[in-house]
């Protein structure tokens, strides 16, 4: 019960912030919410199932282009395109999982990284279609929801997507599948002996993770009007990992906290120093030294042990 109160309360707070914050921060929040969906997806694979992937940029980019290509070439309206992007992310993750899940640990990390690298090069190779490194400009966000301004439509869709993703994640981690996922992370051998099929569980977790990542990619492209190959670079595989670790791996609200913290760390550092990278680097090192479970993970460990 208190779980639901906490999470619905968080949703309400986010909704209030979206409406009341000054325009700059409101738009930032809409961006952050979409990226949080990406982080929630990453967290399902990494935080709960223990799959350390460096290939999630591929799933995000699959969402970006799964939505952008039909909009550009088939004139598909934006909302159905969002579904197309979500599906593209899920399918891509399932395909990668079928092969990559034969490996584990660091090998899994490298194999996913290489698939993502191949995906990035493929986007460049099909430059006439994808726009390659320059990318494609998508229709104005003002056409997203009839009757709403671009900013209002963006906030609405970002919030709806975030709320759905958060509740879905909460349901998943509390379900039988969620508990099996954690069992995989803690001790794969033991869960195998208990009659689970580790491969199937991990594949399901990765595909779910891909659905979230794809949805986030599609939404990011459609809401902000741009699709480009840069979304498939390794940077976009490292970022969700950092967001999740900063917020707290294996916590439902961690991705929200981590993504927002990281976004504003870069944003604020940029106003005071030209050495932005130094700020980010030092913050990461301090975080891992003094709060290795991330912000929410540390809170859970010390005070709120019931947090999902």
């Amino acid at each position: 019960m208190r779980n639901w109160i906490l999470h619905l309360g968080t949703l309400a707070l986010v909704a209030v912030l979206l409406v009341t914050l000054p325009p700059y921060h409101a738009t930032n929040l809409a961006r952050i919410l979409v990226l949080v969906v990406f982080a929630i997806g990453y967290n399902l694979a990494f935080g709960y199932t223990g799959l350390l992937s460096l290939g999630h940029a591929l799933f995000f980019a699959a969402g970006v282009y799964g939505a952008a290509l039909p909009v550009t070439y088939l004139g598909l309206p934006q909302l159905p395109a969002l579904i197309a992007g979500l599906a593209a992310g899920g399918v891509m993750a399932a395909l990668v999982g079928l092969l990559a899940l034969r490996t584990a640990g660091v090998s899994f990390m490298i194999v996913t990284l290489m698939f993502a690298q191949a995906g990035y090069l493929t986007l460049l190779y099909f430059n006439p279609v994808t726009g390659g490194d320059e990318g494609l400009v998508l229709p104005d966000a003002a056409t997203l929801l009839p009757g709403l301004s671009a900013d209002a439509a963006r906030a609405t869709i970002a919030f709806a997507l975030f709320a759905t993703a958060l509740i879905a994640a909460l349901v998943i981690v509390q379900s039988r599948l969620g508990r099996t996922m954690v069992a995989m992370r803690e001790n794969e051998e033991r869960s195998r002996m208990l009659g689970y099929n580790p491969f199937a569980v991990k594949l399901a977790a990765l595909a779910l993770s891909g659905l979230f990542s794809g949805a986030a990619g599609a939404a990011y492209a459609l809401l902000f009007g741009y699709a480009g190959a840069s979304f498939a670079t390794i940077q976009y595989s490292i970022l969700p990992m950092l967001w999740v670790l900063m917020g707290g791996a294996g916590t439902v609200l961690g991705p929200l906290i981590g993504t927002a913290a990281m976004f504003y760390l870069v944003d604020i550092a940029g106003s005071y120093t030209t050495a932005t990278l130094l700020f980010v680097g030092v913050a990461l090192v301090l975080l891992i030294l003094f709060a290795p479970k991330g912000i929410l993970g540390t809170i859970r460990e010390r005070w709120l042990t019931w947090l999902p």
């Binding site: 460049l124 726009g131 490194d133 320059e134 400009v137 009007g225 480009g228 840069s230 120093t273 932005t276």
Partner: protein, 424 residues
Amino acid sequence: MTNLITPTRRTLLKGMGAGLLASAALPGHVFGQAAPIKLGFQLHRTGIGAAYGRWYERTAQAALKVVNDAGGINGRPVEIVFEDDATDPKRGAEVVEKLASQAGCDLIFGPLFSHVVIGSAPRAGELKIPYLVCSEGYHVASGMLNRWTMQPGITDVRAQVSSMAPWVTQNLGKKVTMVYPDYAFGYDHRDFFTEAVKAQGGEVIAQIAIPPTETTFTRYLPQIPTETEVLYHVMVGPAVLTFVKELGDFYGSGARPQIFGFIDSLEAVDTASPGLEFLEGTHFWEAHNRVKQADASEAETFYRAAVGVDDNGASVSDAADVATYSHMFSVWETLSVIKKGMEAAGYQGPADRQKFVEAVEAMTTFDAGQDHPQGDKVFNGKTHQVFGHQFISKVEGGKLMRVHQTAIEDGQYADAVDYSTQSF
């Protein structure tokens, strides 16, 4: 060597303070209580474009000082808010947001890299804030962007490339092999140069695309056909010098074709670097002559001194710090256009942004002079693109000496878009 941590706001205030002091000392330049006009600058301070970003920032600071010393814009002082976009399209759009909504800038200018421009322009259009890019990409004039995005400071790559073809085919040879990066920027070169060479009765006999992740190039060089008369090369990024050096190793003292390169292959690199001796006698496109030519105008001398560039194109304080001279003038000239446009529009505040865009669209020619040290230009208000002269230089004694100047018409092409009919 720069300071590790430079509080940008403080520098800004110091700069402003200096401007105000100067204005107080000179009667007639009193800004009074007028609030400053704030210009946002989307800067490639980190990421792959950092070598350009550093010089873009210096050029912007120099141009700003000149504008403020001359009384600002519409009697108001001007300040520039620099924000790093990490040469990344996603961060670029966020920076546009930040400069427009948080810093309250009147307009935004300055980005070079195409993907940043294309990723940011949609948001600038939505926010209805003028977005003046210094990018040389063909994406403005192709109609891909929007009415708020303009490129009044630098000729686009399509025009640059097309205007090279006549001289290259007449003076260097008709059978051309092209080496270019295997992504959008390279394709603009491939497509427009191939077309222009054909129009001149020449032929591109081989096109060698180099993948973007490559750091060494020797193994691509054997693909250059032996009957090649002209080797056309254009590379960007930190590995460019490697490419040129390996080309030197490959041909060495043996017979080689004529070599024609875009200076992008050597931007921010000293042409007298060890291993580049073979470049002697080869030719380069330049948008602005890095080495001060004998006939340099007064405006050119003034610009060079203001930005802090010596006669060889390096920083006056560090001879190893070579400028991105063929690109950075666009920042200076864009600021001149901003000043002119704001004065023509009677610009008072963000409510006049639309009037500003219309005022720039109404411009047709820019005269050479202190506002436009690179030379005179023609501005096309429909395509939002400017066209200027281009130069071909030859390496003589390790220095780039101009041998040809194109006419503006050499690069012009039929309009692909009319932004001025689009709604705001």
